[in-house]
Amino acid sequence: MTDRHTPVWADDPGLRNDAHDPSYGQGQQGQGQQGQWPGEQSQDPSWSYEQQYAHQAYPAAQQREVTDSGSWRFDGRTSSYTDQRTYDTFAPYDPYATYTETEPAPTPAPVVPEPEPERPGYVLPPIQESSWAVDTGRSRLLGRLVLLCVLLIQAGLSLRLSGTAFEDEALYVLAGHYEIGNILHGTPVPGDFEGYFSGYPKLYPVLAAMVDSVAGLAGVRIVSLMFMLGATSLLYAMTRRMFDARAAIGAAALFSVVQSTVFLGNFATFDAAAVFFLALSAWIVVRTGRAPIVAVVLAAPPAILAFAIKYAAGLYLPTLVVLAVLTAYRHRGLRAPARGVLLGGAMGALLGAGYLFAGSLGGISQTTTNRAKGADTAAQLLQHSAEWGGLMFLTAVGGSLAYAIRPHMGEMPWLEQVGPGRFRRIALGVLLCGTALLAPAYQIHLQTEVSLFKHVGFGLLFAGPMAGLGISRLVGPHFRHPQLGIMLYVLTLVFGMVQAQQNYSFPDSREMTAVLRPMVDRKGTYLAEEHEVPAYYLRDVTGYAQWQGTFGMDYMDKKGKRYSGPEAYGAAVKDAKFDVIVLRGTVTPDVDTAVTDALRGNAHYRLAAVTRFTTSKGDGAYRIWVKR
């Protein structure tokens, strides 16, 4: 006797039908002859185990017995064969199992040896679980409803931020107006926008300017909100495709409330559009994971568009290529890398075409690859990155670890647990979490914190699916700990909301532009720190070329002496070259000092107004000097 358990039904007399299940007790000595083995064998006194075994292995037509559901049945007495412990229907070698069949099978046709295909033509994707059931239409609907709530909260968080145009917003929208003029009428563009923009000036700025002429800056910011809501939705779709609806909700929920998302959702710059197109590209990569590998080429145009809109998005193109390899679910061996190569090749081809079309862009090196080195320390950058995206990143790491250990939570143990192999799971976690570190790492290399709070969000978009998985694992199978997930979401929301408010704090320029308005005309020359802001708001009465910023200029005085840097500003102010001077005091301290020094004892200028503002960094004031 063995120590194994007896199947439940074995003791249930209702299930034991002697007529249909004559094998019960068959093995016991002395009852063998009463047992009703089908066919003449039961009558055969020379019956032996070997013969029975032979029947089991090759059930002959005349030995079949008809039952309700054709199957094998076990009496569960002696065999220690492991398959009996499961409730499986397959146990070909159990000597005590009886084969039953619903109806007598027709005489087996002569077996035509059919060549077995190497691989199946199409393998159905693993069924996504949703608690006790597989994902159904209902769970999809529920997921979308939750996504809608997530998007509403995201919109609310973004829209509660307010303020006058930030320097970059003003510059891009204003540049867009000139670019439209250039495209439509060929009017020259004032300033070498292509030389220092961090994105191609004929893309986003043109869109922004078109919206601006209809709905003003608020409208342009709404467009950004749409982009960010779109990015959240695409993240949801992508994660649902990669994992399941719960992970998708988690990913969308966390991504929608981190400070970068909240901030960019009300910020009229390249960033929101770039994030959206990166998300679109990533979604296409994942969406075409089971399609023929050529389909991945579809992901190349949005990826390159994202890069063209904001060059910094190029940092994430390799991630998309590797993602294409890792999400090639149907393809193993060399065809998976081929998918990546195909995507990479398509991107390269588009880039080449873009290069031929647009020519070399100085802006890429100046604003992205070769940005002026700053003096921010690595520790400071790391600390701030951790504050801005640490929670979501940690969740993503947790999700990656959990994913590496088990591909599923095993909520339905009877389901066949198929999923990507361990290598793919680990690689996916490393890729997506690693991508979140790209921007901080790169900016640590550049030693500058400029825009880092925005760039953190680009990486978090990619870490999103893993974070979603992390939150779903944290909640646990069958929503065991929903409070943990809610806690994490609320915590991220509070951080995101507060940090976005702290970062979204620009000087209120309304009073400044109101003071300047009667002082400016189409002829004057104006020096302004963050000159883009007054140039944008006063674009109806001045031209962009009339405004001189404080980021650098060359100047030659009347005697022919050349100056550059802060000295140039000092000399120009002494010579009363500018009709109006506006300083706010913190953006370019060196030039500010040079200008205020030059204004000291300067009979040409008179302080016209001091307009105060408050930002999260402290109080400040625009000081406006005019020629007497």
């Binding site: 951790a386 640490g390 944290l474 507060v498 702290q502 300067n602 302080l607 105060r612 408050t614 007497r628």
Partner: protein, 349 residues
């Protein structure tokens, strides 16, 4: 009741992950929700840190742009100013002056002692009358040294804030006749360096507060009584003064022509600055020469493009300086003031 062993095992990593997340969140929260972080949040909300409710006034009512005084600095026509008894608190003396002189003055000078609040009401009243207020700010109660060293900053700032809040142009002459010996801020009690330091300090504080509505007047006495005092040492600089308010009277004795009375002072000043002059206090002593003096004053002022006007000291103090001291004087004044180059609407320069 017992839990299946798998459940108990599965709980542990979940708790661990939760604990790690919470710990790291608190770590990150150290700065976001620190005192500094909360201040930043408050400020970003447009509130001052520490205050409970947002400043309603600063939120809702955006102040209008500061008054641009530049058109008043060197107007096409000249100021006809007056300093009269009780004005501008009571306008009767000014109206009397206007009636007798035949022309409405467009500048009214009055005196403000150190420690007085900015007379916003008087400046408003003057403006409503159609004249620019000219305040002679007399530091009787504070030494120039103290003012320069910052001991009076609180008072100066509150004065500047009032100026900014009223947002009307005002001419301010601080410590006038500093080159004379008779005032406590004069040559006997203070040095030129102290004067310029105090003057610049006040000006800087006004600039800092954004009180740009001030026309800064640097107001020396004519050099004739104390020719040894060099004015250049008292000059604060071109960026600190808008007008040079020369003070000089046609007295019974002493110089009695425009050229001799103001000439030496003006030529000395022209050696270091090109700022416009205004005769900040003048009058003629009652006497036979008075009509001639009046004529000389108006003609001399009209002739010089760099003199933006004059202020008649219409008091009967020590001697009768008033225009109506005699019928001939009044007639002469009427005739001279009728000159179209005198008087204009300061509210629409």
């Amino acid at each position: 009741m017992t839990f299946p062993p798998r459940t108990a095992r599965a709980l542990r990593p979940v708790r661990m992950i939760a604990a790690v997340l919470l710990a790291s969140a608190l770590l990150a929260g150290c700065t976001t929700f620190s005192g500094k972080g909360r201040d930043e949040y408050d400020r970003a909300q447009g509130e001052q840190p520490g205050t409970e409710s947002p400043g309603e006034a600063s939120e809702s009512a955006k102040p209008e742009p500061p008054y641009d005084v530049r058109p008043l600095l060197q107007p096409a026509k000249k100021y006809l100013g007056v300093a009269a008894d009780g004005a501008p608190a009571k306008m009767t003396s000014v109206e009397d002056f206007a009636k007798r002189g035949g022309k409405k003055p467009n500048l009214i000078e009055f005196y403000s002692a150190w420690g007085d609040q900015y007379e916003a009401g008087l400046v408003q009243k003057t403006w409503d009358y159609g004249a620019l207020a000219f305040i002679a700010w007399e530091p009787f109660d504070a030494s120039l040294k103290d003012i320069a060293s910052g001991k009076q900053d609180e008072y100066i700032r509150s004065y500047a804030k009032s100026v900014k809040a009223l947002n009307l142009p005002v001419a301010i002459s601080f410590a006038h006749e500093m080159n004379g010996f008779w005032y406590p801020w004069g040559t006997k009690k203070a040095t030129a360096a102290q004067f310029t330091a105090a003057y610049k300090h006040i000006h800087d504080l006004f600039d800092d507060e954004g009180a740009t509505q001030v026309i800064w007047v640097w107001s020396p006495n004519v050099v004739n009584p104390m020719p040894k005092v060099q004015l250049k040492a008292y000059w604060p600089g071109d960026d600190y003064a808008d007008w040079i308010g020369v003070i000089g009277y046609y007295a019974a004795t002493g110089p009695s022509t425009y050229k001799t009375l103001y000439g030496p002072t003006m030529s000395q000043i022209r050696s270091f600055t090109k700022k416009p002059f205004i005769i900040a206090e003048t009058a003629a002593q009652a006497g036979e020469r008075k009509p001639a003096d009046i004529k000389d004053l108006f003609e001399g002022t009209a002739k010089r493009d760099d003199v933006v006007g004059l202020v008649w000291f219409n008091f009967d103090k020590e001697t009768d300086w008033r225009v109506n001291s005699g019928p001939l004087s009044q007639k002469a004044f009427r005739e001279q003031a009728a000159d179209p180059s005198f008087g204009f609407d300061v509210t629409k320069p």
